[in-house]
Subunit: 328 residues, 2 copies
């Protein structure tokens, strides 16, 4: 019996989930739900239904886990509690400040529906949180450092696209090599924002646009760029397409701690990701945790969970005996 998965929302992340399901033989994609007209949506997996979100409630008996692939700003806060009444759900909610409130909403709904919801999965929040937490417990005296990149920030790219005269833009977040070296050497440095990351922006401008003005608007943009050293490079639409159409990302979380009776020994734990495709990697994580949601629900558990609550064995289709014999 396969674990039957539904995808709600078919953007980059939805496609990443679809792709990941094909790599897991115990999983089956049953349907993709969209707010668009389903007739206009082509998906990659043959023979799978594409339906309007309004039809989702008819699928409660046909789907074991619904993976919600909408955005954190407006989609997930309302969708997740709504669907947690009907399905075991998974999401990648990443608005850190609103996690407690979101957890409470999903917990209430999932308990009402007798379902399991696992929220805020992905790599940050998600795998990075997990590693920061475990490393902090192992080395209670020390500092955590999180570096992102080199990779495309879609939020920063969108912010540049909203500037007048900009046709297209891609923003890369880049760790500062000297800062990384200091941390890896266990120097426990104190940083301001500018010390840790630089930002590289590639812009396709309208013909005749004032490039000096565009550059100034970018580098002085509050929150997004003002606190960073930013370089702006104007390129052609062809160059954008040829060199910047992928969505690579990555980063690393470093715990730099000490041990010993006199705190004389440095101990460094690093978790490092190099990703050719950010949405496919995030999708892969959501799918692995969909297996956990399915298995927890099969045990009769209900309510909202996070990555901290999931014993790793639930991610695997293998039995405890098999895991101990082959993976410990």
């Amino acid at each position: 019996m396969s674990i039957r998965i539904g995808i709600l929302g078919y953007g980059n992340l939805g496609r990443g989930v679809e792709s990941a399901i094909r790599q897991n033989p115990d999983m089956e994609l049953v349907a993709v739900f969209t707010r668009r007209n389903p007739e206009n949506l082509k998906i990659r997996t043959e023979g799978v239904a594409v339906l309007n979100v309004a039809d989702a409630p008819d699928y409660t008996d046909k789907i074991d886990v619904m993976i919600l692939c909408g955005g954190s700003a407006t989609d997930l806060p309302t969708q997740t509690p709504e669907y947690a009444k009907l399905f075991n759900v998974i999401n990648s909610f990443d608005t850190h400040a609103r996690i407690p409130e979101h957890f409470a909403d999903v917990d209430k709904a999932a308990k009402e529906g007798g379902k399991v919801g696992i929220i805020s999965l992905g790599w940050d929040p998600g795998m990075f949180s997990l590693n920061r937490m475990i490393s902090t417990m192992i080395l209670p005296e020390g500092n955590n450092y999180t570096f992102w990149g080199r990779g495309v920030s879609q939020g920063h790219s969108d912010a540049v696209r909203r500037i007048e005269g900009v046709i297209d833009a891609r923003q890369y977040t880049v760790p500062v090599p000297e800062a990384v070296d200091k941390v890896r050497n266990g120097e426990n440095p104190t940083f301001v924002t500018r010390d840790m990351h630089t930002r590289e922006v590639f812009v396709v401008a309208e013909e005749g646009a004032d490039k000096a003005r565009i550059e100034k608007e970018i580098v002085e943009m509050p929150n997004y760029f003002a606190d960073y050293n930013t370089t702006v490079t104007f390129i052609s639409a062809e160059e954008m397409k040829a060199n910047h159409s992928e969505l690579p990302h990555g980063g690393f979380v470093i715990r730099s701690g000490v041990s010993g009776f006199d705190k004389e020994h440095k101990q460094i734990i690093e978790y490092n990701l190099k990703l050719d495709s950010n949405p496919e990697f995030t999708g892969s994580i959501l799918v692995a945790y969909a297996r956990a949601a399915y298995r927890l629900a099969a045990e009769g558990q209900t309510g909202c969970k996070t990555i901290f609550d999931i014993a790793p064995a639930y991610l695997s289709p293998l039995s405890g005996e098999e895991l101990r014999a082959h993976l410990l």
Copy 2:
């Protein structure tokens, strides 16, 4: 109320555990148990009892978790089931092939005693196993690579010390940089043993010993050195003491996988440790999981567990609310 810890066995690992307990304010070391004459054993923590192992059964009401710091060859296989009847126990049993049998023994004993036992903790097995397993679930199509070092292998150092004419020896395991680069680049190479690690041996020889014979015996030693490129350097006892008295180690686990509809995207996950002190780091892990054993036991759970069975939240003294608000 502190979590009350006992240490059984006071070698390098026992001292590492003692040191780690001092870094965790919710933990208290109650007693160290030894097979030696307790009067001859000095520990670092003032006011803590040093007792013979025969006295341990008197401490069942005074100790919440007993951390077993003996060796995997002969101590832990018998000690762990014996003490799991009396205490919640933690060990670092690392004989991979015998883990299923050991698990069964500890599970039976812990269930009889109504206790929790967590076995095979440390960094390999332990954190490396955890990362290999989770990464394999996220990226089901790919390869795992484990590199150890640069660091001291105590087993290999001991093997050299048994050679005639050798007074002291220290063996460093060293990853081959070219091999590491290939893996980090996502080339998914196939290796034989010799490709991944080299071995560096430092030897203090007896005056007049036949150094050529010693070197030959080392580099040709089956299992330990014959399959590796090994360098042997003869040094003085003073140099050994000055430069090789610490026990650094480390290593990294890399999952090199692919994603995408045409498997066109490389995705690399690396978990990397750089440790000034191997036994203190292992001790720190045992202490973090002692907290988990305590909390699981408080919930009424019993039996044997491994790192795969422990939801990460159990490692932390923080509540679920606090973890979600501050660490997710």
